[in-house]
Amino acid sequence: MAEVGDRGQRRGTWQPWALLSPGVLWLALFFLVPMLTLVRVSLSEQANRFTQEFEFSWRFSNYTDAVSDYAGIFGRSFLYAGLATVLCILIGYPLAYVIAFRGGRYRNLLLGLVVVPFFTSYLIRTIAWRTLLADEGPVVGVLEALHLTSFLDTLGLMENGRLLATWVAVVGGLTYNFLPFMILPIYVALEKIDVRLVDAAKDLYSSAPRAFVKVTLPLSLPGVFAGTLLTFIPASGDFVNAQYLGGPRQTMIGNIVQNLFLVQNRYTSAAAISFILMIIITIAVLVYARFLGTDELAA
């Protein structure tokens, strides 16, 4: 549906490429080439941890070792990312709906308010959640005042009356940090819906909920689709939330990659793990796209 509206588009031969070439060159040099280097390093042999010299040797054992060592952590990362994505839909969809259909003349203001929190540093935001979720912090305080802590303990949502360093804190942090990536595309999809379609459904004796399920929801699915990708992909590779809000038992694959690359200097295994992450995400996206099939990602 991309460029249909552009009147008077020109047919170009060399002109577009003249405009594109610097940018394309940059992306090729610093995106494609590094990706190939990553693959190459992931199949190389590193003599020891103190050199940064790699010998390319089709060493697939980097991959098999990575899978056998970190399968559980891969699973946890995708589980957390999946949970965060679902929560983002549950929180973000109604929010986008209210802004799109009930915002009236405050629509742009409300949309701005969704984005504003994310102009503060990602890291500082996450550290602020530490303050909120700390043992003496407001959230635990309220739960204690309501005598809910032992109940939440039995549900597995708290650990010994703590929220910090639990999976709930990590998933909550991921949900928070990627929420605007869910809200904005859903909003864009909802905003494009012709309200008269919903009215037509109601004229045809459809109840409001039914009109929503049959008209609004299907038309907004491309937004949900784009939002899911924009949430799930960064969430599954994240290490900041697990590092600041989780404990040792919440380690995600991002923490492993970061640690192997930057602390342990084990480049070859780290490269293999990153590439596996990339492959799994690509497959997940393709499978998901087959089910919901749209190309609205860039919209």
């Binding site: 280097t37 940064q52 960064p234």
Partner: protein
């Protein structure tokens, strides 16, 4: 739109009786209750969005006991009076500003050219370029960081200002190209023909017609990519080496101290981006739509 084939409510002919039951299935009071619930839910959503922001701003007025500004003690204006009291933090902040300035200028030029080419022309290979632009934004940041680190290590390239800036230009180019493209989608290029008919040469047409019309979009994209750059932690942690930017400084000092100046600087960034953003959307309110 791809999903228009399923016409609403026409999949099955509802009988008149059913239809009546359907409308009345939801009594008005329940409808109102549901509607009120939705509003409350959305309000709660905004509380969630702003909770940590409130913490950040409130704690910039805190006078912490010891080195960790994590527990509320008492109100003070000292931190705002001395926002640059922490030398290391200030240095890191300035490094981040430098990186962001260079990255945004380069990325805005490259990205705006790309979006102009993609929006203005129809040509072979456009799809490929689109994919190339989207990929860096959809790949997990950690993979981008890891791949750039592999490249730099492989080349024996020491890490510092330029490696950080290169990586920031990378994601900013994609971001600028995509957002500017989205903004100038639907642009009426026949306006250029009109200018040409009136005797303007190509350069003059661009300067007097095209450029002013796409400028607000470019400005907004530049502003947003500035905040992306100044905030980036994941990719930078891979490409920085010893070049400590603002987020890296906060992360590095986290075990030793969390000074209230962090909150002051963060609030300043927030305040200035919001101000600029409001100005950029309110001031040039000569919205053009075709």
């Amino acid at each position: 739109m791809t999903l228009t084939e399923s016409p609403p409510a026409a999949t099955r002919e509802p009988t008149a009786r059913e239809a009546v039951v359907d409308t009345r299935g939801v009594p008005p009071w329940l409808g109102r209750l549901g509607s009120a619930f939705l509003n409350v839910y959305a309000a709660a959503g905004f509380v969630y969005l702003f909770a940590p922001i409130v913490v950040i701003v409130v704690f910039s007025f805190n006078q912490p006991k010891g080195k960790f500004n994590l527990v509320w003690q008492r109100f003070t204006l000292d931190n705002w009076a001395n926002p640059f009291a922490q030398q290391e933090l200030t240095d890191a902040f300035i490094r981040s500003l430098k990186v962001a300035a260079v990255a945004v200028i380069v990325a805005t030029i490259l990205g705006a050219f790309m979006s102009l080419a993609l929006a203005r022309y129809r040509f072979r290979g456009g799809g490929f370029v689109n994919t190339l632009i989207v990929l860096p934004l959809t790949a997990p940041e950690i993979v981008l960081g890891a791949s750039l680190l592999s490249l730099f290590v492989n080349r024996g390239q020491p890490r510092g200002f330029w490696t950080v800036t290169i990586s920031h230009i990378l994601f900013c180019v994609s971001f600028v190209a995509l957002t500017v493209k989205a903004r100038i989608r639907g642009f009426d290029w026949t306006l250029e023909d009109a200018a040409a008919d009136l005797g303007a040469g190509p350069w003059r047409t661009f300067r007097k017609v095209t450029f002013p019309l796409i400028l607000p979009g470019i400005f907004a994209a530049a502003l947003l990519s500035f905040s992306l750059s100044i905030d980036d932690y994941i990719i930078t942690s891979f490409t920085a080496g010893q070049y400590v930017t603002f987020p890296l400084q906060i992360a590095g000092a986290f075990q030793r101290e969390i000074s209230p100046q962090i909150n002051v600087l963060a609030s300043m960034i927030l305040l200035s981006t919001v101000t600029l953003l409001v100005m950029s959307t309110v001031l040039p309110n000569r919205r053009h739509r075709t």
